[in-house]
């Protein structure tokens, strides 16, 4: 598979996520869209790692471990994502407890 396919796939997913963030007003959905963005990145990273591995393998044999970092990075992204989710949902719930809404457009006590 040409790398460009993966690049474009990833970018498209990412942009869908962005569009979601821009168009929805439910905090949870927005947060989900962000997760979608992260996943797009993950996919991209894996693809790249495999690409580099392919290039390296062509030069120095299949035994090389070039490209491992990419996948490890994805692992760390997931870790961080998990942490973020815990905190994020905590905040959203707290918000909900106080205002019985998760609609970001109601959040304009702070402006100007």
């Amino acid at each position: 598979m040409p790398i460009n396919y993966y690049i474009f796939l990833g970018v498209i997913l990412f942009c869908i996520g962005v569009t979601g963030v821009l168009t929805r007003r439910n905090a949870i959905i927005i947060f989900m869209c962000i997760e979608l963005m992260l996943n797009a990145v993950n996919l991209l990273l894996v693809a790249f790692s495999k690409m580099h591995h392919a290039i390296a393998a062509a030069n120095q044999g299949a035994a090389t471990t070039v490209g491992t970092e990419g996948q490890l990075f994805v692992f760390f992204i997931m870790v961080v994502a998990a942490a973020e989710v815990s905190v994020g949902l905590a905040i959203i719930v707290m918000m909900y407890r106080n205002t019985h809404s998760v609609d970001v457009n109601f959040l304009n006590r702070l402006k100007h």
Binding site: I3, V21, T23, V87, A90, I91, M94
Partner: protein, 166 residues
């Protein structure tokens, strides 16, 4: 058209479609479900790329734990379809346009010639296997690994601070 290619195209279309569904569904629950499908599709990609470990983790952590958490919260708040009245059309349109522009710009920026030749190895390659990842992770990447524990600690403390009654 090899089987991998077919799978690739199928998964790609599935991913994009379900992602679109995620952002277009009124009812949050549906969105969550579609998102799960997206993640699973992405895991499929991982398998295609012979990154089993990530594929598994993705399913477990994301599609499993995280999404369940989401679902749980949504249920807890029992937000149903009409809970969210659509936001003003113009803003939505602007959002879509902006997203589209970003896509265009990125695509335009990335269609560099140097990537044409490069390909991704499908199926083969052992770097995605746990053994290899483990080796690198606990030798070279030990520090980030430890540090991420701090991350979790702070997340934990944070959740406590936020959650705890006073």
């Amino acid at each position: 058209m090899s089987i991998t290619q077919i799978l690739f195209w199928f998964l790609s279309i599935l991913t994009i479609f379900s992602a679109l569904m995620v952002i277009t569904r009124k009812n949050p629950v549906y969105s969550v479900l579609w998102l799960i499908i997206t993640f699973i599709a992405i895991s499929g990609h991982y398998i295609l790329l012979n990154a089993q470990f990530l594929a598994v983790v993705n399913v477990i952590v994301y599609a499993g734990a995280i999404m369940v958490l989401f679902l749980f919260v949504i249920m807890l708040m029992n937000l149903d379809a009409d809970a969210e009245q659509t936001k003003n059309k113009w803003l939505q349109l602007a959002g879509v346009v902006a997203g589209g522009c970003l896509l265009l710009i990125l695509v335009a920026a990335l269609k560099g010639a140097e990537n044409q030749a490069k390909t991704v190895e499908m199926g083969t390659g052992s770097i995605g296997l746990i053994e290899n990842l483990g080796q690198v992770l606990f030798k070279q990447y030990i520090l980030p690994f430890e540090i991420s524990s701090v991350l979790f600690l702070s997340a934990m403390v944070g959740a406590v601070v936020i959650g705890k009654k006073n």
